[in-house]
Symmetry: C2
Subunit: 345 residues, 2 copies
DNA sequence: GCGCGCATTGCATACGTATGCAAGATTGGC
DNA sequence: GCCAATCTTGCATACGTATGCAATGCGCGC
């Protein structure tokens, strides 16, 4: 079609058959030389690899996929790159997958557009597994459809009506830890700020937190749904709470909300933590910045990734297997936003 | 191998041949029904698509790739997800690519590891094009190797010794705009903070800025290489400058540095912008947050993406073509960090 | 020296779709 | 109503690797 002006002829890559003829072996031998554990004499393999190196032969992964019905590609479905937690997670996840020879095909979901169309590629590309990180958007039927007949893992959310394996931070443990911490530092009138209230992470954090608050005999002074997990939603929620008064500690459903909340409070002359203590969830990089020094419940990203990679490796998330839910312990990180200047920066 | 305990038999996906036999047409017809513009009667196509829908047939993209020698996959090489500019860019880029039917295969480069090994998959997977966003790391020979014989575009960096097409924001325009702005608001002793001094973006911004400073007869009071594009590098650089005194405006090579700088300055009692004005580059989301309200030169991400997508579409970055460099105009965003409270938040 | 077993190799075919070519079907013009 | 031109369709094969099976070669034990 468009080979109109190519100057250098784009030489077609060498095939195994060509290399085989060149060396005087069969094409099978070439294939075996590149297949770990295949039945081939070490010296023949060495010879083939040497020649391959010389002439720049690389096995064609596409042909291999077709032949093996295995792509070594994992589809990663995401929708929210605004929350820094997700880029951090995706970066480490893709590294973890690369370690075991898997590549990551990104499916960036746009709200409002036709989901099935966006995810149809997920099926056509025959990805070996699907990892869904999007906290929102995907409904049960869509989830089932997207993951039908293939390995699937949800990270940082649970499947409600679909039966899928999940790897999540223990939101209940985290929410309780925050509640306990607020109690310990003497706060009694507590507000909770949800991100998207219907997301599974929020539901777990919210209910565990409210329950624990009650167990401690503390007062839930405000319960706000920010409507999205964003800096500005956090700001607005904080201002709402401020307007009502009667709150001395706020637990934001995640760090990006909390960061917005801290800024809004401080701009309005509220001292954090003297007047209002603030805690978040995730431990994104920003939470550790001296300016925010935000107390938060750290999601152990590395562990989440390791567990996910292991589940893919051992096939425990293969289709037909019983789905498993792995709740990973996190860690309460106490910082200045609840402890005051006494704490380490 | 591991079909030991699969309960439901994983039914193999239907093939075009099976569907063809089922309907009583040839496999070619199936293929044509799914190929836009193929020679097939509309009613036959409709019939085939209807049956396909019924039985859940989806063309196997892998086989199609092998047959067409075209994958519709673009390899995206990245290395720095810490700087929020990159997640934002990648998100919009992958959306833009999806619009024209391309999927994004992510290659997350780890510093220090074997680059060729990490990028070898780039070749084996026969991606149609390579988009390199990593500002650092890739040397000329590696670049050439990774992009040999395939369409390639660099975003936000230029190729120095390799001959590759680039799409970049006009760093020179941006740096001059910042210098002009500093001059306009009456600053005269100016500091520049580099991120990684050897990156092409830094070189362009730095030299254009310094030149312009001199043209205005302003003093370059400090020139610091932060060593990396990070919040903490920005903090350290700001503290360095503070220790020397003699500076009333700082241009940080990008926003994440500037944000760190602003925090460090304010923690040390410096008023921004009264004592020291601060400007960055990129216009990441954070720069617009009321707390930072950072004057910056906005990289027009949407335009960068559109231009990139267009170059892929029209084949102007195909191998053998002369590489083109597209410099995209940006926009100076004046905010409180140079204008004071007078400016809009 | 013979036979057996194992390691190595090649042969042939499968994987599922795309497409050049030729044959058949349809249309339009006169 | 006939012929040519165009549109449709099927046939056959290509794409490049993986792998079951058979054949070969080698070493070892008796």
């Amino acid at each position: 079609m468009n080979n109109t002006t190519s100057e250098k002829v784009r030489r077609k890559p060498m095939t195994a058959r060509e290399l085989a003829r060149m060396i005087g072996v069969s094409q099978s031998a070439i294939s075996r030389a590149f297949t770990p554990g295949a039945s081939i004499a070490p010296q023949l393999r060495a010879k083939i690899l040497r020649h391959a190196e010389d002439v720049g032969y690389h096995p064609n992964a596409i042909a291999s996929m077709l032949s093996k019905s295995r792509t070594n590609i994992v589809g990663i479905v995401i929708s929210d790159m605004q929350n820094p937690f997700y880029p951090a997670l995706i970066e480490r996840l893709s590294r973890g997958l690369q370690r075991i020879g898997l590549q990551s095909l990104m499916f960036n979901i746009t709200k409002g557009a036709d989901l099935e169309e966006q995810l149809s590629a997920l099926r056509r590309y025959n990805v070996d597994a699907v990892i869904i990180i999007s906290a929102t958007i995907l409904s049960g039927p869509t989830l089932r459809w997207a993951t039908e007949d293939r390995a699937a893992i949800l990270i940082n959310r649970v499947a409600e009506d679909a039966e899928l394996s999940c790897v999540i931070c223990d939101n209940i443990e985290g929410a309780r830890a925050i509640a306990d911490h607020f109690h310990e530092i003497g706060r009694r009138r507590i507000a909770y700020v949800a991100g998207l209230s219907h997301t599974t992470t929020n539901r777990e954090r919210q209910s565990a937190f409210i329950t624990r608050i009650a167990e401690h005999g503390m007062t839930l002074s405000a319960l706000i749904d920010g409507g999205e997990y964003s800096y500005y939603a956090g700001r607005n929620a904080a201002l709402d709470i401020l307007a009502r008064g009667e709150t001395d500690a706020i637990f934001f459903a995640n760090d990006i909300l909390a960061v917005g909340g801290v800024d809004a409070l401080q701009e309005n002359g509220v001292r954090v933590p003297e007047d209002i203590a603030v805690a978040g969830f995730d431990d994104i990089a920003m939470a550790g910045w001296p300016h925010y020094s935000l107390t938060t419940f750290r999601q152990p990203i590395d562990t989440l990734v390791d567990v996910t990679v292991t589940m893919l490796e051992d096939g425990s998330c293969a289709p037909g297997k019983l789905p498993t839910i792995r709740r990973i312990s996190g860690e309460l990180i106490k910082r200045r936003s609840t402890m005051g200047a006494a704490s380490p920066a």
